[in-house]
């Protein structure tokens, strides 16, 4: 697992002003949110500019870093104290290392393209300027999260991301469902945040510091049970932010926001934070088998849940959302495998950033063409009407299902391989489930493609909610332009990053060397198996959906497994039954107790002391003079008492 490298201070060079990476989008957000309507005319341009400049700057830092030796690629830039009380020192500081720089490029690069796309997508929204303000806030928070050099500043970004997502998921303010979804996202994230906060408390108690460099260098001094607690609490944090079991239920609801928001949350920011956190804390996870096992198990459960539910939805965005749940599950599984998987998880995260962004933006383009329709049963045959979207979306689709030599093929296969190679009693299970889920992924994505772009044009005989007919049309270049770049990434990113282990070598200073899978047998068999299983998924989808007409209204009743999947495997029902409803009762009961019980006792006692409640009421009609008299009397008694005491 190797030595933890001590960071060197940034001295000179272009990275001296690396704080600009974060501050630029902050300035953008501030101007757009405080400036008000005066900035309406050019707000969206400013919003894009700040992020794209950040990207270019990040790229320059990255290029400078390529010139350093591996041992010198972990650098820190101190920016002064945030707050400090004796032994608790919390500072603003950036950690520029291969891991954080990879994230900076993803966040500002993919994020910047999503910004550009939004110019077109949000064109008719009167609040577009404010939207870009929130978008910039999102990017700034996410950059704070990945660039922080200590746990508390990371937490600042961590909850900042939660705020930005809250604002954006609840964007359509007049929809009660959007407000509910936003609140739900924030609350479930807060549950995870409590885990992260407690982990920070434990770390500080153990080591007296919250700086990454010191914590990681001295991780060996933490007692074993404490380390288990810390790693599990960090995992709880990761589950909240990344929508992992058991905190996955907020992520599909987050589709209430405008589609570019979904793309931003799912591809470039937010949900990747959990994977980042665990990879960042690899020196802690390296020391705890239990911690790693829990991470891998959570990832495996989630990737299965996500891919099962993804098969059941007819809402194009919800299918993609559960696809994200599932794919993030793969990443969490990978980083849970320890040194054999950290780099693989990050690689899948980056390739996923490309293809999931193009898929979401493609879905947005479909909705743009179809009066915001999301029900795939009302679509069909759109490939002739949206040829560009179709081509770009197909690229993302092929990359996601792991079509040979596209991005997902490299990054997902590597994870399945590593899972099989993990050994122990759990390893094979992880591998088998991950393999099975690859088949399910192929199934639900093919189903989505068939229902949306192929088959009968079912929308021809349908009307929108307000009685209009559908006229699908291709989106403007400002929307498909960014998608082209993302599609190119979906094609080649896997090859560039994974083959030859380029990314793994680059990340070595941050997460240690990639420990390769031992057996050559799995190295050959697994890719083959994965391709076969995926092909089977595609075939089944074609047999079930492609060959038959798709009913416009979803069939009811359905078999139990389908019903369960449609109901999110009852996650919401369970939350409702064990938390929400008892909570409501408890609250009502407490309000009653507080009013009648505690306050009743107090008032009753007062009445008793005053003789009758009638007399109390008379007192309360406010004879202020009698109070003044009473106080004067009491004062005289007190003074007499004091005199007596002092002369006794």
């Amino acid at each position: 697992m190797g030595e933890v490298l001590a960071p060197v201070a940034v001295t000179g060079g272009i990275a001296q002003s690396a704080w600009l990476l974060v501050v630029l989008p902050v300035i953008g957000a501030f101007i757009l949110l405080v400036g008000g309507r005066r900035t309406d005319a050019w707000g969206h341009l400013l919003g894009c500019a700040t992020v794209l400049i950040s990207f270019v700057y990040g790229l320059m830092v990255f290029i400078e870093w390529l010139g350093f030796d591996a041992a010198e690629r972990t650098r820190e830039l101190g920016l002064g104290t945030w707050f400090a009380v004796n032994s608790l020192q919390v500072s603003y500081g950036l950690r520029l290392d291969p891991l954080s720089l990879a994230f900076v490029l993803l966040i500002t690069g993919v994020g910047g393209l999503i910004h550009l796309y939004s110019i077109g997508y949000m064109e008719h929204d009167p609040g577009r300027r404010r939207f870009f303000g929130y978008f910039n806030l999102f990017i700034a928070a996410m950059l704070t999260l990945v660039l922080a050099n200590n746990f508390v500043t990371l937490y600042l970004g961590w909850e900042g991301v939660g705020l930005a997502s809250y604002l954006l998921i609840g964007w359509y303010q007049d929809r009660p469902s959007a407000a509910t979804a936003a609140k739900k996202a924030f609350l479930m994230n807060r549950v995870g945040d409590v885990g992260l906060a407690l982990a920070i408390f434990l770390i500080w108690r153990s080591l007296g510091t919250v700086q990454f460099s010191e914590v990681f260098a001295r991780a060996g001094q933490i007692s074993a049970p404490m380390l288990v607690a810390i790693t599990l609490l960090l995992l709880l944090g990761a589950c909240g932010k990344s929508g992992q079991f058991p905190l996955q239920a907020w992520l599909p609801d987050a589709m209430e926001g405008p589609t570019p928001v979904s793309a931003l949350i799912h591809a470039a920011t937010m949900v990747t934070a959990g994977v980042y956190l665990i990879a960042r804390c690899s020196p802690l996870y390296n020391l705890s088998t239990t911690g790693r096992l829990a991470v891998a198990a959570v990832g495996t459960i989630t990737l299965l849940i996500g891919s099962i539910i993804g098969c059941a939805y007819d809402d194009i965005k919800k299918v993609l959302a559960y696809s994200t749940v599932s794919q993030i599950g793969y990443m969490i599984l990978a980083v849970g495998l320890g040194p054999a998987g950290y780099a693989l998880g990050i690689a899948h995260l980056l390739t996923h950033g490309f293809f999931k962004a193009v898929l979401f933006l493609g879905a947005g383009s479909v909705m743009h063409a179809m009066h915001d329709e999301v029900d795939m049963r009302r679509m069909g045959g759109l490939r002739q009407h949206l040829p560009i979207t179709f081509a770009l979306f197909s690229t993302g689709y092929l990359a996601l299902i792991g079509f040979p030599f596209l991005s997902g093929f490299y990054s997902k296969d590597a994870i399945i391989e590593a899972a099989f190679g993990a050994g122990g009693s759990a390893g094979p299970w992880f591998g088998v489930i991950a393999l099975l889920a690859a088949g399910l992924t192929a199934f639900y994505m093919t189903r989505l493609m068939l229902m949306t772009f192929f088959g009968e044009e079912r929308w021809r005989n349908l009307r929108t909610a307000d009685g209009k007919s559908y006229h699908p049309h291709e989106c403007p270049p400002v929307m498909w332009g960014p998608m082209v770049l993302l599609a190119i990434g979906s094609l080649i990113a896997g090859f560039i990053l994974v083959s030859g282990e380029r990314l793994a070598h680059w990340l070595e200073p941050s997460v240690g060397a990639l420990v390769p899978v031992e057996s050559t047998a799995t190295a050959i068999a697994v890719p083959l198996l994965t391709v076969l299983v995926s092909a089977a998924g595609v075939a089944v989808a074609w047999l079930v959906i492609g060959r038959n007409p798709v009913p416009v209204v979803k069939p009811e009743p359905v078999s139990l497994p389908v019903a369960a999947a449609r109901a999110d495997l009852y996650a919401n029902a369970i939350n409702e039954a064990i938390i929400a409803r008892p909570g409501t009762w408890l609250t009502r009961a407490l309000v009653f107790v507080d009013n009648k019980g505690i306050d009743g006792i107090v008032n009753g006692t007062a009445a008793l002391l005053g003789g009758t409640s009638g007399r109390l009421r008379r007192l309360q009609t406010g004879f202020v003079r009698s109070y003044a008299l009473g106080m004067l009397g009491a004062g005289i008694v007190v003074i007499a008492f004091l005199v007596a005491v002092s002369y006794s």
Partner: protein
């Protein structure tokens, strides 16, 4: 200028101001402007006190002491430590803002702004006095007398049930104060036994504190504790606060919850801990149980409130639980967090109270269910409400995060179980704030107070009915209202990102307090 003279001036100036304002009954605008003028001069004095204070210098600074009642050793003695200083600064900041926010307050029949502003100034004087007193008897006096202006503010200028709320507030506090008086006298007697002459001088009492037997300490502690627990208030002594907070006019409510309640916590820090160290250590578990139970209990009650002002009162009770946890966890980090929390809570709850007052001023109702979808009509008001709410749920980047984080991380090493339970209060805080925001601000415009009686009583609650009809008079913030809120909003962000200047003032004083309790920080530079 002598440091102590600044404190004396800060007590006298508002009293003079009150007298002047009270004489201007016939011209409301002049009265309000004069009151505001005095409050602004007071703010300048507070700034002078701040700059005259040396963090890390003497335990008590800016002292002034003149004989008062020599017969029993009472002196008119003033002075501040870092804890008192930040509270006095908070008073200086909040009073002008409160006056600005009360400018257009609809007062009950027959009441004039002159009376209202004069009472606010009297209250300001008393509040400065209670924090600046370094003589225990003088403290007691201010502690009791400050009830009088607040009684009048609630009882004469408040809402429909103002008489009930004011009397309840007064009786409750008076009762606590009388119990404390017994302890004050007891302390005098005990000091007489130790020193040969009784004294009320805080510094002298602090020096003999550790020599008092624990059993005696416990009785004296409990006397102070009852008064402070009612004032703070801790559950189960809290039921006066929702009534008082709900019926008080908004300006008085801000000072009640934002400053006056903090006297309770301040009392713990200045009197209970240093004067009764053994008792504090012995009884800490009792207080911690009340504190942590209060965090969760009051948060759940806040979720269930239907009245906006009672909602704010309950959120405050929950926050006071965090503060009490920080005080009785006995570490510099936790106590520094607790003191910073007192300041931050004054700012964020003050802002929440004021924006709710602005809502009520427009809609004419205190009920949450009478509002809905306000963000669509008044986006700036909604944005300000959200900012105050985010501060109330301690989002990083707002002031409250730093204090809550310090309280929790500082309490954790000594009190892990209580801290873990308290930390779950973070989730409840998010719930009560965001649910409140959702009901009042989000969704289609609805509710009787927003869409008005145009639609008839039944129709107003149906969202579809309201969605297409805009009430004409639900305006966004006026310039005056923005001017009132911007300083608070700026402080929320400024103290969120750059709290260190305030912490530098607080830390040496709480460090001394931890030492006075006879303990040292559980976590040093290299971990525990």
């Amino acid at each position: 200028m002598n440091g102590g003279a600044v404190l004396l001036a800060m007590i006298l100036l508002p009293l003079i101001g009150a007298a002047v304002v009270a004489l201007m009954r016939s011209s409301p605008v002049a009265a309000k402007a004069t009151g505001l003028g005095f409050a602004l001069v007071e703010l300048v004095l507070a700034a002078a006190a701040w700059s005259g204070y040396q963090p890390g210098g003497g335990r008590l600074q800016l002292t002034l002491s003149v004989p008062w009642i020599p017969a029993f050793g009472t002196r008119f003695a003033l002075g501040v430590d870092g804890i008192a200083l930040v509270m006095i600064a908070l008073i200086g900041v909040l009073v002008p803002i409160v006056m600005g926010s009360s400018w257009a307050e609809k007062l009950p029949e027959g009441r004039t702004p002159a009376g209202f502003y004069a009472q606010i100034l009297v209250l300001e004087s008393m509040l400065v006095g209670v924090f600046a007193a370094t003589d225990v008897f003088l403290f007691y006096l201010f502690f009791e007398v400050m009830l009088v202006p607040m009684y009048f503010l609630i009882g004469r200028f408040g809402g429909p049930r103002r008489q009930y709320a004011a009397v309840k507030f007064f009786l409750y506090s008076l009762l606590g104060g009388l119990v404390m008086l017994a302890s004050v006298i007891g302390l005098f007697v005990v000091s007489g036994q130790r020193l040969g002459h009784g004294t009320f001088d805080w510094a002298a009492l602090e020096r003999i504190a550790s020599t008092i037997p624990t059993s005696t300490q416990i009785w004296l502690f409990l006397g102070f504790f009852v008064a402070f627990a009612i004032k703070a208030p801790l559950v189960p002594f809290h039921t006066w606060l929702p009534d008082a907070g709900a019926e008080a006019p908004v300006g008085a409510g801000v000072l009640l919850v934002g400053v006056m309640d903090k006297v309770g916590i301040y009392g713990f820090l200045r009197y209970c801990l240093p004067l009764f160290p053994a008792a504090s250590r012995t009884l800490a578990p009792l207080v911690l149980v009340l504190a942590v139970a209060g965090i969760l209990y009051a948060a759940l009650l806040a979720v269930g409130q239907s009245d906006m002002k009672r909602f704010v009162a309950y959120t405050s009770v929950s926050h006071f639980g965090f503060i009490a946890l920080g005080v009785f966890a006995f570490s510099t980090q936790a106590q520094a967090g607790a003191v910073l929390y007192m300041v931050n809570h004054g700012i964020s709850t003050g802002m929440l109270f004021i924006v709710i007052g602005m809502l009520i001023g427009r809609g004419g109702s205190r009920l949450i269910s009478d509002y809905g979808g306000v963000a669509a009509l008044a986006p700036v008001l909604a944005g300000m409400t959200l900012l105050a709410g985010l501060s109330a749920l301690s989002l990083p980047g707002t002031n409250s995060f730093v204090s809550e984080f310090l309280v929790l991380i500082g309490s954790f090493p000594r009190q892990p179980v209580f801290t873990v339970i308290a930390t779950t209060g973070m989730i409840l805080a998010a719930l009560y704030v965001l649910w409140f925001y959702q009901r009042v601000m989000q969704g289609p415009a609805r509710g009787a107070a927003v869409v008005g009686a145009l639609d008839g009583p039944g129709a107003a609650t149906a969202p579809e009915a309201g969605a297409h009809r805009k009430r004409i008079d639900f305006p966004d913030l006026s310039i005056r209202e923005i001017v009132v809120l911007v300083p608070l909003a700026a402080l929320i962000l400024l103290l969120g990102f750059f709290p260190q200047p305030v912490l530098n003032v607080i830390t040496p004083s709480v460090g001394a307090t931890v030492t006075e309790v006879g303990l040292s920080d559980p976590v040093g530079q290299g971990g525990s």
